[in-house]
Symmetry: C2
Subunit: 412 residues, 2 copies
C-alpha cells in the first residue's frame, strides 16, 4: 500500500501511519496529518467535501487549536476519517487529485503546534530495567526493586502546564539541592540535567468518576501515542522527593513529538507482553499482545556539532503494559478525560546501550560518553540539543513518530 | 457596612465577602455571588446594565460554565465588579432595588456547581504539626520532620479530574494494600478512609514557561480561596507511595466548597506568619503578614445521626505561607495558568483537638472518637457525611467559606 504523495524510503509517515496533529498555517491552527514530507491540511480537506459528510463531521473539528474536539467524537469517527484519508491518498486512487493537491503543504512551510490540550498528566515507572538500575544506584543493589514494584504499575501525577512540543527551547532550571556531605541546601542552576526516554499516550474516551477501565477494554480509551521526553533535574529531584515524590525536579519542562500515532496504526507491531512473576492481582491480568515493538533512539547534539546516538531502546521493554496502567489508574474510580496524557516512565532495555537516561548511561555520573566534537557528557550541558526518534517496522510496513527535539539554554 | 439583603447573624456571606461561584438555575450555568441566604445571579445583574460597562465586561463572562474567563480578565476587572456589587447591595444605597430584586434567588432554589475548570492541581504539605505527627507515626518520633521539610514547602502534583464540589457523594475506593505481617498485597475496599482538612487557592494570573513568581508578587497571582477536603485512602497510600508519592490513595476524589472567597476579602484577617528556623533561602524570604486567621472545623455525621465536631483548626497554623508556596513552585520556571488549584496540605494545629485528619485524631487507628449516636470512629465509615466549615471574624466583620459536605457510599 503506497501513497501517490512522494514518500521517501524510511519515512516515518507512510500511508500506513496517518497520524494526527495541529499545524499553524497562515497564522491559523488546523488539524492535519502527514504523508512523507507533505502535510495535509484536514480543514482544507474537509472543505473540499471529499472527506465525506456521512460521519456527521463539522468544520470546527478541523479548524481548531487542539485535537481534543476531534478525538472526543470517538473512534468510530476518527478511524473513519483516517480510513478515508488512506483511501484518498492511496496510489490506486486516481480521482480528485487536483482538488486534493490544494490541501497539501510542504512540511518545512508549516509549524507544528501542541496537538492536544492536556488535562491531567500521569507518569508511570513501568520499565523493569530502569526501575532496577535506579534502585541499584540509590538503594540496595541486592534488592533494587521496591516491594510494591512487581505488584502494580507504580505512577505519579505530573504537571501538564509545562508540557510543550518539539522545537521549543527552554532554560536550565534553578532550584534547591544538597550535597551528601553538607547539612544545608544551596540554590542554583541544576548541575545534573537529564532526559528520560518515554512514550506517551492520549486518552480518547472518558470515564465517569467512580468507574473503572479494565485491561480488556483499555484499548478503546487510548487514542494514540507520541514520543515523550520527561526532562529531569536530578540534583533537585534527589533533595525534594521524599516523601511525596518528584515535583520541581520534573515540572520545569517536558516535551512531546507533535504527531499522535493512533493505536490502530500500531496494531501490526503488537508483541507479547512481559511474563509477570509473581502473578498479578486479577484486575491487572490481561490477554493478548499489549506491548509494541517500537525502536527508540536518543541523540545529543552539542552546539556546532553533529548528533551522537546515546541510546537505542524499544517500547517493547515495558514490564507493565498500557492496558494494565489504565486499569490500575482507574481501579479506585479515578476518572479520565479526553486529552489526558499518560507516559510510560523511562524505557530502558537490558543492555547499557539501551538505557533511557543519562543517569543510567553515566551510572550516576561515574562514566562519560564522548560526543562527536570530542567533548564528554555525564549529563546534559547548556546549548545541547536532545533528539528522540522512534519507529516501528515489520514486513515492509513502517510507522514512525518523527522526533521530539529541544535545546537547553543557560539558566536565566 | 451592611446589605439591604437580609443577612442572618453569623452568616459567612456578609457584604464584606462577595465570593464568586457558579450556579445552575433554569438548567443554565451562570456566575453568581451570595449575600446571606440570597444568591445573586451575576448574568442577570449584568443584563440590568447596573454592573456598568465601564470595565469592558461582556455577557459571556457571566453566562459561563466556569469562572475561568471572568478570573482571566484580571484583578482590575474582578475587583471592580466586586466593589460595584458591594455598592449596589449596601443598605445605604436605596436606588434600583426593584431592578436588583430580579437578580436574586433563594439559596435553596439553586444548585452550586464546580466554580472553576481546574487545570493543574498541586497539593502542599505545609503544616508543621501535620508533618510532625505523620513523621512520628510512620518514621522516627525523635526525627519526625524529614531533612528537606524546613527548607522548602514540600509538595506534589495531584489529580484535577476527580476534584468535585460540595454535595457530590462518592463510593469508597478499592485498591491494593498490604498488611505489615504479610508478603503479598490484597485487593479490596479501602479500610482506612480519611479526610484531610485543607484550604485551596485558585490561580488568577498566569505566568509564561520559564518565569517565576516571587514572594512579593504572589498575591497578584491568587484569585481566591476555598475549603478543600483531600480525601485519602490510607491503606492504599501506604503500600503504593514509595518512591514516587501518593497516587491512587488520593486521586479517587477530592472536594471543595463552591464559593471562591477572594484574597482581597481575606485582607482584614491577615496575621503574622510563622517564624522560620533555620533561615530560608533568599527566594523563600518574605515580608508582611502572609498567613490568614481562618477558623476551620470538621464534622462527621453518621447516617441518621447529627453532626459531631471532630476537629477545630485554623489556616494560620501553616508553617509555609501561600506566597512561599507559589515562589517555590515556579522558581524552576514551571508555569501556572488561570484556574490552577493549589492546596495547603492537611492543616493541623498543636493540640489534638485541632488535628486535621482521622489519621492524626485516631493516632494511626489507636484511639476512637465517639459519635453522637454512640458509635465509634477511627476512620470514615460508609454512609458517613463529612462536613468542613471555615470562617474569619474580627472586629464585627465576618467572612466565611460556607461548607464542603460529601457522603461516602459503599464501595461499588
Amino acid at each position: 500500500m503506497k501513497s501517490w504523495i512522494e514518500t521517501p524510503t524510511n519515512s516515518d509517515f507512510t500511508l500506513y501511519n496517518i497520524p494526527f496533529g495541529i499545524i499553524k498555517h497562515n497564522n491559523k491552527k488546523v488539524v492535519a496529518t502527514i504523508i512523507g514530507n507533505t502535510v495535509i491540511n484536514l480543514h482544507a480537506l474537509y472543505n473540499t467535501g471529499l472527506l465525506s459528510t456521512t460521519y456527521g463531521l463539522h468544520a470546527t473539528l478541523f479548524a481548531n487549536d487542539f485535537l481534543n474536539d476531534f478525538i472526543a467524537e470517538g473512534k468510530a469517527i476518527t478511524n473513519a476519517v483516517r480510513t478515508r484519508i488512506i483511501e484518498l491518498f492511496n496510489e490506486i486512487n486516481t480521482e480528485h487529485r487536483e482538488l486534493l493537491q490544494t490541501c497539501l503543504l510542504p512540511v518545512n512551510e508549516v509549524q507544528n503546534c501542541m496537538p492536544v490540550r492536556i488535562g491531567d498528566y500521569t507518569d508511570f515507572f513501568s520499565s523493569i530495567d530502569h526501575a532496577t538500575n535506579t534502585g541499584m544506584m540509590f538503594r540496595d543493589p541486592a534488592n533494587a526493586l521496591l516491594p510494591n514494584w512487581k505488584h502494580m504499575p507504580v505512577g505519579y501525577h505530573g504537571r501538564s502546564s509545562s508540557i510543550a512540543e518539539s522545537g521549543i527551547n527552554f532554560h536550565r532550571p534553578k532550584g534547591q539541592s544538597k550535597a551528601d556531605d553538607q547539612t544545608m541546601p544551596i540554590f542554583g542552576a541544576c548541575k545534573t540535567l537529564d532526559f528520560e526516554l518515554e512514550m506517551g499516550f492520549i486518552i480518547g474516551k472518558p470515564t465517569a468518576l467512580g468507574d473503572s477501565i479494565t485491561t480488556a477494554n483499555a484499548d478503546e480509551h487510548i487514542f494514540g501515542f507520541c514520543l515523550f521526553n520527561d526532562w529531569s533535574a536530578r540534583d533537585i529531584q534527589k533533595w525534594e522527593y521524599v516523601p511525596l515524590g518528584p515535583f520541581l525536579g520534573k515540572n520545569f519542562f517536558s516535551s512531546i513529538s507533535p504527531w499522535i500515532v493512533t493505536i490502530e496504526a500500531l496494531a501490526p507491531f503488537r508483541v507479547q507482553s512481559y511474563e509477570q512473576t509473581p502473578q498479578v492481582l486479577p484486575y491487572l491480568a490481561f490477554e493478548g499482545n499489549n506491548n509494541f515493538d517500537v525502536n527508540l533512539q536518543v541523540f545529543i547534539q552539542p552546539e556546532n556539532s553533529t548528533e551522537k546516538c546515546v541510546s537505542e531502546s524499544n517500547f517493547k521493554y515495558m514490564y507493565w503494559n498500557v492496558n494494565q496502567q489504565l486499569a490500575h489508574h482507574t481501579v479506585n474510580g479515578c476518572n479520565v478525560n479526553v486529552g489526558d496524557m499518560m507516559a510510560s516512565g523511562t524505557i530502558s532495555g537490558p543492555e547499557p546501550t539501551s538505557y533511557g537516561s543519562m543517569l543510567e548511561i553515566s551510572w550516576g555520573g561515574k562514566r562519560s560518553i564522548t560526543m562527536n566534537d570530542g567533548t564528554e557528557r555525564k549529563f546534559i550541558q547548556d546549548n545541547d540539543t536532545v533528539i528522540m526518534r522512534g519507529y516501528a517496522s515489520k514486513n515492509g510496513i513502517r510507522v514512525g513518530f518523527g522526533e521530539v527535539k529541544n535545546k537547553v539554554l543557560a539558566a536565566k
